[in-house]
Symmetry: D2
Amino acid sequence: MFFASDNASGAPPEIMAALLKANAGYDRSYGGDRIMAEVTARIRQVFEAPEAAVYLVATGTVANALAIATLTPPWGAVFCHRHAHIEMDECGAPEFYTAGAKLVLVDGVHGRMTPETLSAALETTGASGVHGVQRGMLSITNVTEAGTVYTPAEIAALTAQARARGLPCHLDGARFANALVALGCTPAEMTWKAGIDAVSFGGTKNGLLGVEAVIFFDPAHAWEFELRRKRAGHLFSKHRYLSAQMLAYLTDDLWLTLAARANAMGARLGEGIAALNSAALTHPTQANMVFANWQQGGHARLQDAGAVYYDQRPLPDGRETARMVASWSTTEADVDDFITALRG
Amino acid sequence: MFFASDNASGAPPEIMAALLKANAGYDRSYGGDRIMAEVTARIRQVFEAPEAAVYLVATGTVANALAIATLTPPWGAVFCHRHAHIEMDECGAPEFYTAGAKLVLVDGVHGRMTPETLSAALETTGASGVHGVQRGMLSITNVTEAGTVYTPAEIAALTAQARARGLPCHLDGARFANALVALGCTPAEMTWKAGIDAVSFGGTKNGLLGVEAVIFFDPAHAWEFELRRKRAGHLFSKHRYLSAQMLAYLTDDLWLTLAARANAMGARLGEGIAALNSAALTHPTQANMVFANWQQGGHARLQDAGAVYYDQRPLPDGRETARMVASWSTTEADVDDFITALRG
Amino acid sequence: MFFASDNASGAPPEIMAALLKANAGYDRSYGGDRIMAEVTARIRQVFEAPEAAVYLVATGTVANALAIATLTPPWGAVFCHRHAHIEMDECGAPEFYTAGAKLVLVDGVHGRMTPETLSAALETTGASGVHGVQRGMLSITNVTEAGTVYTPAEIAALTAQARARGLPCHLDGARFANALVALGCTPAEMTWKAGIDAVSFGGTKNGLLGVEAVIFFDPAHAWEFELRRKRAGHLFSKHRYLSAQMLAYLTDDLWLTLAARANAMGARLGEGIAALNSAALTHPTQANMVFANWQQGGHARLQDAGAVYYDQRPLPDGRETARMVASWSTTEADVDDFITALRG
Amino acid sequence: MFFASDNASGAPPEIMAALLKANAGYDRSYGGDRIMAEVTARIRQVFEAPEAAVYLVATGTVANALAIATLTPPWGAVFCHRHAHIEMDECGAPEFYTAGAKLVLVDGVHGRMTPETLSAALETTGASGVHGVQRGMLSITNVTEAGTVYTPAEIAALTAQARARGLPCHLDGARFANALVALGCTPAEMTWKAGIDAVSFGGTKNGLLGVEAVIFFDPAHAWEFELRRKRAGHLFSKHRYLSAQMLAYLTDDLWLTLAARANAMGARLGEGIAALNSAALTHPTQANMVFANWQQGGHARLQDAGAVYYDQRPLPDGRETARMVASWSTTEADVDDFITALRG
């Protein structure tokens, strides 16, 4: 019953096998490995983007921060949801990598900006000439930090606001596969067809040891990104181990299979909680994350049963809100045991 | 005959086995994993430093840059050899991470600073009050970029110069094990007993997939380092995979065994080349790197034979200088075939 | 009728006379001038702070940014009001100078944080360990951007929140003299006695050509500040011209006389507007800034009469909010003409 | 006998008169003042550059650092002479403003790079792909730090090297007028006609209180520069005082008159020293700076006579090298008294 995060899971056997296979013999370092060429070709195919520039890094934080730093100057405001990962959970990595860009926080329930809230932020920022920061770029997270998803049409409605002002658009896809499976659309529909310029394409939360791809649909950004990555110490000498993971991830739809499992377990958990009188979902469950609250007695029972998840300090009515994240390795038994313990 | 770099090798079976073992089940993320506690204890023991703060990162560049940024402010000069890796091969990572510190380049043959050359640099830097950068810190590389080693006494003679001016001292140990084996001293003798405050303790070039430890003998630096690492996107969520590699590396003296093999092959290659009339070593061979030059005909024969290594543009006399690096996986046959091809 | 800003005024004759006097002969550069020693002594006396470190710079933006960068590391959150000058009007200077610190915006009507709104921000920031930015410092503006003032007790109530968490406190006193005159307290009461560690002590808006002092009550910050100032290109070679302005400003209470005039004109304007049926103050007038709104007809009449001030786009009811700033050189006739034109 | 620096002089009466005149009444702030429009037109005329973007700042350090940051990315090497002001005397301001660019130091006697030494530096930098910093830009100082000048042809020979590699070229003209007078050429010949893209056009050392212009011949850089200047706190609210100084400086050839005086006094001093048996020039005197050495007895006599200048620690033969800088206000008597005291 380990629901603390999808990054507490291990990797599926296909990934470990790929690592072992890649380990044999010598290969060129720093991204010149043979496997990386296959990864690039595969991602271009998956995204229907034959010109895309594709890079691998090891953490989601740096995927986001390097993509953002490549897309906006230090004086450019980065528009994002108030609870975006780049604002809440990266210790200021975007500010560090951009040399001091400002994140402008956009409102919206269930972790989602709306065209209206984004428009309001765009209008009040960058309106005072040289005295204020300039409008820089938009960053959208899908799956959001509240476990909800934007549809391609919703993404397009947001990017339209940004593009009308000439701003590039980034998608933080730490849980890209979970969003895709939830939406039933194609990678292209969720990204460049919806106005996205660059994607942090996550692998780690969905079963890799630590690999994320950064994809620029416009290859003009390629060389700058390479220099930024190297300068940040994020260019791996033994790069083949990253390549091997990503290639296996994209082979035989493994990435989609893993995400489908996680989402199914998320749905099962969300439905199980929603069916209880004693608990209430606080966000709709649309992918592999469940947010709900219940009385402290329920938390105590779960703790006794060995369940692991994050919860917040008690609300005035004594209820505590919890976040549970299912992963590719979550089992039906994990979910059912959780519900049983919560029900009491 | 792959001598381009020790980072073109794979990992030995012990490391892959450790990865597979660590993959089972759930574990806490972001360095809270069970294996990391063992790593910390083991490194403290190896270095006879029970208070040391120990962190893992994935590349040597970031190990150096984060250590340096933790030890010096943006206006602090970093004294290092003119050909140090931090100057030549990291695309300005130290400048990036320190927010603009200046590297002051110290002379010295065979990649080695001397107390005299360091003293000269220390004297002429930071002597103009607020108008110039201040003296910040010393960074020593062992094994040097020229394949030579500093003895503990030589390190102590350099750190004495720095410490007399109140400066902290960093050791870039990307090839720490190779130096240690070459010197036959203890890790403590090569570091804190010789005046070193922080170490980049390399693992990647000596058989890991991508793990380096950063060690601060004074734990006062710990929290700042943790924040810098996170903010740089270098804190791994699935940290256990880094821990597992490092623990296996330090188990049953694997790290020393690997380095001894690489050094032995380096020595064999160096001796083989030195014995030829047609070639000349340009630096003494003291660890696993060999530098030598010979006429272009020799290069052509080696290329035909499939040898891979770095060489520089021809000198006026037609000779080209080459760098060959042996690794843990280099075989005697690799070396002997190389010599055969070179001899012609 | 020039009410666009107090920085559109010239300098009073005492300041110009001091410049001319300081121009004679040679003097040491870079702050070693004879007049600066007098400035330091005078500011220490005025603030009852015999140990204070005192520096001069030429703009308010850099006074704030350098003070903030000296007080907080890059990962430290700077708590300030949502409409603070450092957030709205400095094009990200604090982020630039701190190498990427995050400004955390605190709510509060009429430009004023309250202990409650500050406490809420302090509680939700820095609560996730290494994953989020850390609590860094507090920055309070007095006079606020809404033309209101904090009393010393109100300042103390805010700094108490910060100090309870070990955070240093900065006062942006771009209109320090206006606040002081409005409050009738001493400089010490408004600063260190109320828990302030560093002050941007403005002179430019109150009659200087371009001089602000930065004061640290704890001189431990002195050398770091000097290096940051030099490195930013804000150390003047012919520093005597800055010193001369500041010394004249502090001589014979000139600074207080100038501020008293500006405040009196602000009050007269505020009262004049409040007495009209057609206009309404949107913030209380407590120093030299007046905020009010009225129908567009009034704006048209003022424009025809040559009045200069900032106004915002029309509200849904057709009213436009205006900001008028009085300065030391504003006359009663300026104010009365403004009211006459507005009344129509 | 104040020869410590040309920045220890005051301002000539024309400049003070212009300040007083500019002080009357209200004017728009932040560079929107009426005088600035005249300054821009005048500088475009002086430089025969009708499209140039022109900005004013208050110090030479920031003029250089902002120009450099506008011309090169953080990973771009800035090629400059080993003793350039940007390397020696700005406490790392270029590194700060560029977010960590590396200064690559070029050799050359008497403060001057040569096409050969520059070519060597260009060839060995940026030759290792993503692993090293990239070639970024060239910065030339005229008058050099050794008091020598580059002719337009010499400048063109250096910029040709840079431009062949696509690099922009900056001229640090802290003593622009002194160089121009020494060379007898036009501003255009010394700059854009010789391949220069941006100029730090100094005024402070030649009689202003503190104003330098930054000129970009390609106005494409304008908006970025404006944002960088604001963000650095170098945009003056009461900008008219900077404009007034610069306009007066450029009126009736005042700037050239002042520089001619300083150069004449430099020549007189250099000739006087050269005529002594006991002293020797260490650099040719080509503008207003004189470098020479003599025995300590001479230094003692000068000190007794009240002469002020910089000297370095004694050489092994007991001689000490001194730097004397003449300014617009240096008199023949100052020079002759100096020679008399030195002669003994």
